[in-house]
């Protein structure tokens, strides 16, 4: 267990450094006439943008992959759960009277913690409720039935937010002032970007520890491996699946809150776009594999920013999905594969 985490940490640190260098290299390709220090500064700024966007995709992708791992359902409503998370956070912050940057640091931390806690619990309950009412009755139905139900739930969530809150972008409070910045290798990066990345990493490590090291996590893994055998061994299948949805949706809720802080504009149909990218991330990393989902999320964020930095911004989407196709042609199970043994 500890060995596995250590190994993961080493690999992650290596990937971070390599992708940093790669981004600087790609930036050099995009702006060849620039001086070396300028290229390093731009590449570094781009690198932190990619980490931030990637962290959001990765958090959403985790929910897709966990649900697929345990009941082999592609939960198309998950992107919209993320969107609801963004709106729940928006409602919390605005109802508390916070519309803009909070100057006092202790207050800011307090409000953010409260926001994360409430958003994640609300979204977790929403996710578990969706499972209870829309998916559980169809658990033994043909595969297509829950798939279509998931699409249905997706539209229902969009419609509810569209009618009850707004049918067009609303400005979400940017609680963390953009004046808080740090300078690294000539790049001035908002502290918010680093904060988002760190929050995402903490949540991902917590998930790994939970799945790998707790009784409930073991129940999740065993259910993923063989539902009937797990049941015979005394695992409460319904509760385990409900908890999987709770955790996946809570992570999407956190991603929604982060997205609102980062972007400053949220809209009822953002879940479709972001959800599709996150789903792609999950497949890219190896669906059913939580480490793979995180890796896939960062990879997509990285490719999106790389497209811009090499001057191919008009080709962004084609590039993302070309990479997906290439990876799947050579590794149909995704970069890390499905990890059938412990795919939850």
């Amino acid at each position: 267990m500890t060995f596995r985490i250590l190994r993961l940490a080493l690999i992650a640190a290596g990937a971070l450094v390599i992708s940093w260098l790669l981004m600087i290299g790609l930036t050099w390709l995009g702006t060849r006439s620039e001086s070396f220090s300028n290229v390093v500064a731009t590449g570094t700024a781009q690198y932190f943008s990619a980490l931030t966007i990637g962290a959001i995709y990765a958090l959403i992708a985790l929910g897709y992959t966990m649900v697929y791992g345990i009941i082999e359902l592609i939960n198309f409503a998950h992107g919209d759960v993320f969107m609801v998370g963004a709106f729940v956070a928006y409602l919390i912050f605005t109802s508390l009277g916070f519309g803009g940057a909070i100057k006092s640091i202790p207050l800011l931390i307090g409000i953010l913690l409260l926001g994360f806690l409430v958003t994640m619990v609300v979204l977790g309950v929403l996710g578990a409720a969706i499972e209870r009412f829309a998916y559980r009755p169809l658990r033994n139905a043909p595969r297509l039935a829950p798939l279509i139900t998931a699409i249905g739930v997706s539209f229902i969530l969009q419609n509810v937010v569209q009618v009850l809150i707004s049918n067009s972008p609303v400005p979400s409070p940017q609680l963390v002032s953009l004046e808080y910045r740090f300078t690294l290798l000539g790049a001035s990066v908002p502290l918010l970007n680093l904060l988002i990345f760190l929050v995402a990493v903490v949540l991902m490590i917590a998930l790994q520890v939970f799945v790998g090291g707790t009784r409930l996590g073991r129940a999740m893994r065993s259910t993923a491996q063989d539902r009937e055998a797990a049941q015979l061994m005394g695992v409460n299948i319904n509760a385990t699946i409900a908890i999987t949805f709770f955790i996946g949706s809570a992570l999407a809720g956190a991603a929604g809150l982060i997205y609102g802080l980062y972007k400053g504009n949220i809209v009822f149909n953002l879940g479709f776009d972001a959800g599709l990218k996150a789903f792609t991330a999950a497949v890219l990393g190896g669906i059913g594999n939580t480490v793979g989902a995180a890796l896939g999320g960062f990879a997509i964020g990285f490719i999106e920013v790389a497209a811009v930095t090499t001057g191919l911004s008009r080709w962004q989407e084609a590039l993302v999905f070309s990479v997906l196709i290439l990876v799947l042609v050579f590794r149909p199970a995704g970069i890390l594969g499905q990890q059938i043994g412990e795919r939850a």
Binding site: A41, Q46, A101, P137, P169, P190, R314
Partner: protein, 434 residues
Amino acid sequence: MQKFLRSSAVGLTLLLVLAACQGNNAPGGGSTSGSGAGGGSKGTVKIGVDLPLSGNEVANGQPTFNGIKLAVDEANKNGGAGGYKIEINKQDDAVNGVHNPDQGATNAKTLVADPAVVGMVGPFNSNVARSIIPVTNEAGLAECSPSNTAVDLTKTGSDKLRPQNPDKRNYFRLAAPDDIQGPAMAAFDYNDLGKKNAYILDDTEAFGKGVADEFQKAFVKLGGKVAKRDGQKYSASVDYTSLFNSVKSLNPDVVYFGGTQVTGGGLARKQMVQAGMGAIPFTGPDGIADLGTGGSQGAFITLAGVDNSHDVYGTVAGVHDLPSGSDFSSRYKAAFQNDPGAYSAIAYACTQVLLKAISDSAASASDMKSLREAVRAYVFDASKTYDTALGKISFTSTGDIKQAFISFYKVDPSLNGGKGGWTFVKQQAFEGGQ
């Protein structure tokens, strides 16, 4: 339990369906009548209107619609036009809060199918115009846009929009086209602001890319440098920070955004500040200069955030100093308790032109069909002149206004008690048209 759940789910679905049906029956459909006493003896004719009127587009569409409504109400008070009482057939082309060309085409079909519609005002956006003009052209309906600026709507390439009646133009406009608007901001950036190195970004739409192309040509011609040119299609999850990161080291001293506040203009300015480039002026066409107050739904300042809206400049493709002075503004304010928007007076003038055409052609037309054609022929008679809120105006044979104006505005974050608003900088005449 299972059974209870299932039946309650069915019940819930039925309730939802019932509620939805009830919603559809609610009053307030597509057609609103011009209020006001009087009206004509010969019956009613309608002016069709297609504008984006919901969601964030409210900031664009509603003040424009109010201009039309004011003209119609005033005409009805004075006995209508040509003996007819005037009504408005109003259509909304916004889908999910953003203007939508397909919805525009559907609306145009609704309007031309209404026999009482003899003239039309709209649409607001150039890409919507591209899908509407073929429909109105086939029906021979005179269509006046207060705000479309894409060059090929009237000039080279416009025959593609008239596949049915290529020789029978029906579309004309009062806004100065982008081959005037783009270069006007280029000259403003280069001469007035003294900027020499521009980063040009567009939203890849018909209007946005078109006006950015015109800006680029003119800026280079003046001697300016283009640091980088990018296009980013707006979508719900789009991110602009990486674009701004990529130009930072090229040291642009001005940014030109081709697009509207709804297709990324507001977000782009916000993320430009995020990327640490807030001190660089952000300039753009009438798509961002909506003249809306910060905080009001869909306004540029709302979407960008008032803290990020300093050093923002925009053009409006029309005249600011109306020849009638504050008369129009005060009548508008009396009717709608609000200041006019960027295109209120121009939409008012569009309606005035159509009403004059109706009034002068009514006698010679025997039925609605011939009146529709008579109105179309009237406005394409280049010898006609019109007394409007914009002053005396006339049109070229292609349907462009001969008295083109560009007005420049700047965001002042301290206006409206710190919520922010736009202030007038200057206006420039481009007499003669093309």
